[in-house]
């Protein structure tokens, strides 16, 4: 089914709307389209609350989409029932943002890791299951005795490895990793990032890599999508995006990255943080955008291809935005001139 040139995952005009109190609607994800090839890593960064988690879960059909389509390995799974989804699930897995909340506190690590095997490989013998569990524990860098422990006996970082182990134990084709390393300390983070790079090479694992750490995203992703208020506002190849961001929000993101070199000048965003319940008219970023003009309030700027493979949703393509790799004189003034 897969590997015939068609992308592993194809998402078209996906939307997820939540009804909230007062009869209003929260547009957590709106009009999102992208494709992901087998073995490809797509980084997703963006505002907190911009719908990254929701996007990941909707793609995995853990929440029903409100509109749009999801094709996975050539099958359109958008309307699959829970039952029909079940066999598909072994090929798509999720690693959570919060390792504390995603592991059942009443089960030992062995029990936790046994469940996916019981569900998807019921024929496995006890000893084989043991071996698989031991193997996956060592893949994620945990000692074998960890199997008999309970989640609360681990620290955050160790627990996250258990979460990754659970996702990997059935060898999925797609991994949605929702901030898998934000709870880890840098040295373990480095190991886990290396591990993910490795797995991707060895297993041809495609990853939807959601993260806030732009440096990690830059290192691991083939392409990066930047989300703001439920929409993709920029998507491009990683190096292109880092070298020449084309959306002011991307620029602000880069500038806010704290650097080990110490405090530095940055674009501190001002203005109201918009809400997905009542998004501003026109460009969703205009309330905080340093480059906003009156026209920005008029219509939603569409995602336009500004360079080959580089899409941005900003109506001012003439701006030269600064990036960490091409430090510009404070571009705000350059643009004003």
């Amino acid at each position: 089914m897969s590997g015939t040139g068609a992308p592993l995952l194809e998402v078209t005009d996906l939307a997820k709307h939540y009804p909230i109190t007062g009869g209003r609607t929260l547009r957590a994800v709106d009009g999102v389209s992208f494709t992901l090839g087998a073995g490809e890593v797509l980084g997703i960064v963006g505002e907190s609350g911009s719908g990254k988690t929701t996007l990941g879960r909707t793609v995995l059909r853990l929440t029903a989409a409100s509109a749009g389509t999801i094709r996975f390995r050539g099958e359109e799974i958008t309307d699959y029932s829970r039952r029909r989804m079940r066999p598909v699930r072994r090929h798509m897995q999720l690693v959570f943002q919060d390792p504390y909340a995603s592991l059942n506190p009443r089960m030992s690590v062995e029990q936790i890791l046994a469940i996916p095997l019981q569900v998807h490989e019921p024929g496995l013998k006890r000893a084989e299951r043991r071996d698989r569990i031991e193997a996956v524990l060592s893949t994620v860098g945990l000692f074998p005795e960890a199997a008999s422990r309970y989640p609360h006996e681990f620290s955050g970082g160790q627990r996250q490895r258990v979460g990754i182990a659970r996702a990997l134990i059935c060898n999925p084709a797609l991994l949605v990793a929702d901030e898998p390393v934000s709870a880890l300390d840098v040295s373990v983070q480095a190991q886990v990032v290396n591990l993910l790079l490795d797995l991707r090479q060895r297993l041809g694992l495609a990853i939807l890599f959601i993260a806030h750490d732009l440096a990690v995203v830059g290192l691991i992703s083939d392409r990066v999508a930047v989300m703001y208020l439920g929409r993709i506002v920029e998507i491009a190849e990683t190096t292109t995006l880092f070298a020449r961001p084309r959306h002011p929000y991307t620029e602000a993101l880069f500038s806010a990255v704290p650097d080990i070199g110490g405090r530095h000048d940055r674009i501190l965003l001002q203005g109201d943080i918009p809400s997905p319940v009542s998004p501003p008219s026109g460009c969703p970023f205009r309330t905080r955008c340093p480059y906003a003009e009156a026209a920005c309030a008029e219509a939603l700027p569409p995602l336009v291809e500004r360079a080959p493979g580089h899409f941005a949703a900003c109506r001012r393509p003439e701006l030269t935005l600064s990036s960490p790799l091409s430090p510009q004189p404070v571009s705000r003034f350059a643009a004003d001139a």
């Binding site: 609350g49 373990v188 480095a190």
Partner: protein, 334 residues
């Protein structure tokens, strides 16, 4: 500037089914007014346990034994020994004198209570605000931590918020009563960098205004560089290095600190995409069976059997404000 919080020889031992875990061994530090102390270190090195022990939020004996001394100097000069305070008294210290932001917001928020009500509850209890005033304050706090439409979001349940919003709700809760000491355990890990910058700014402003001291537990050395005055590096339950931020990030002495700094991903790494990060080899030692000698020696590039495996090195002063726990720091420094 005087010390607000003094911790002396803090030790925490868990006794579980699997054996004994000395999660924290002999941690000492003093926190000055307005100072920001960062605690960094390997996962499971005991950072959270240290924080929870200060707050007296660990279970009691026989499962968990806490030893040492924690002294809090209150606004009026009164000195309190937190570890021997009656529980009722301690409860009134929590949230008012010492605020805490917990590592994982989802388990610390009550899943079946609206977020605004949870924040208001603290204000109601500690500040004796009327229910109405407390809920108004809760809404304005949510606005301060950058949650859009705070009045609407105050009525949401935790699971209806994004990860970052939950974390901000926790921050609002901890800052609600303007504590003298703020313990922030990974407060910004779930936040995007622009909001993170905003939160750091908020904490800094509050610090300037109220003289609040901060213990900032984080893995993000970039954030450490931004906010900290002093850094405590922990490994396997012990402090292995304690230095002013510039010294530590610029010229670390303990090999573990150096390894930590080397493994920080930087934006420039995009140029060598797919390349590996410099990770410290090996794994955290099993806390139930820590190696003899220096606990870091199995992973250390500078390790020599002679001093390193012989005895647990002591915390030595390399400079008046710089302590290091390494048997070979003199050779390494040279």
């Amino acid at each position: 500037m005087s010390d607000v919080l003094t911790v002396t020889d803090l030790a925490v031992r868990f006794t579980g089914e699997g054996g004994i875990v000395d999660a924290v061994e002999g941690v000492s530090f003093a926190l000055k007014e307005r100072e920001t102390l960062a605690i960094v270190g390997e996962s499971s090195s005991g950072k959270s346990v240290t924080a929870l022990a200060l707050m007296r939020l660990l279970g009691g004996p026989p499962n968990c034994v806490v030893r040492g001394q924690v002294t809090l100097r209150r606004q009026d000069g009164e000195r309190l020994e937190l570890l021997s305070l009656p529980e009722a008294r301690m409860a009134s210290i929590r949230g008012r004198d010492i605020g805490m932001i917990f590592q994982e917001p989802m388990t610390s928020l009550n899943p079946v209570q609206r977020v605004g009500a949870q924040i208001a509850e603290g204000l109601h209890a500690h500040e004796r605000l009327s229910a109405r005033a407390a809920s108004d304050r809760a809404v304005s706090l949510l606005g301060h931590v950058g949650i859009p439409e705070p009045a609407l979001r105050a009525r949401a349940y935790p699971h209806q918020l994004s990860g970052g919003m939950r974390q901000r709700a926790m921050i609002a809760m901890a800052l609600a009563c303007r504590p003298r000491v703020l313990i922030a355990d990974e407060p910004t890990t779930a936040l995007d960098v622009t909001i993170q910058a905003q939160i750091l700014e908020l904490i800094r402003a509050l610090q300037k205004e109220t003289g609040m001291s901060v213990i900032f537990i984080t893995h993000n050395l970039g954030v450490v560089a931004e906010v900290a005055d002093r850094v405590l590096v922990m490994y396997a339950g012990q402090v292995v290095e304690d230095a002013p931020v510039a010294t530590l990030l610029g010229r670390p002495l303990m090999p573990y600190s150096a390894g930590l700094i080397a493994s920080v991903p930087r934006l420039d790494d995009v140029r060598r995409r797919g390349g590996r990060l410099a990770a410290i080899p090996g794994n955290v030692p099993d806390p139930r069976a820590r190696p003899a000698g220096c606990t870091f020696h199995p992973r250390c590039a500078h390790a020599r059997p002679d001093p390193c495996e012989a005895a647990r090195p002591a915390l030595e002063a390399a400079a008046p404000d710089h302590a290091v726990r390494c048997a070979r720091w003199r050779e390494i420094a040279a």
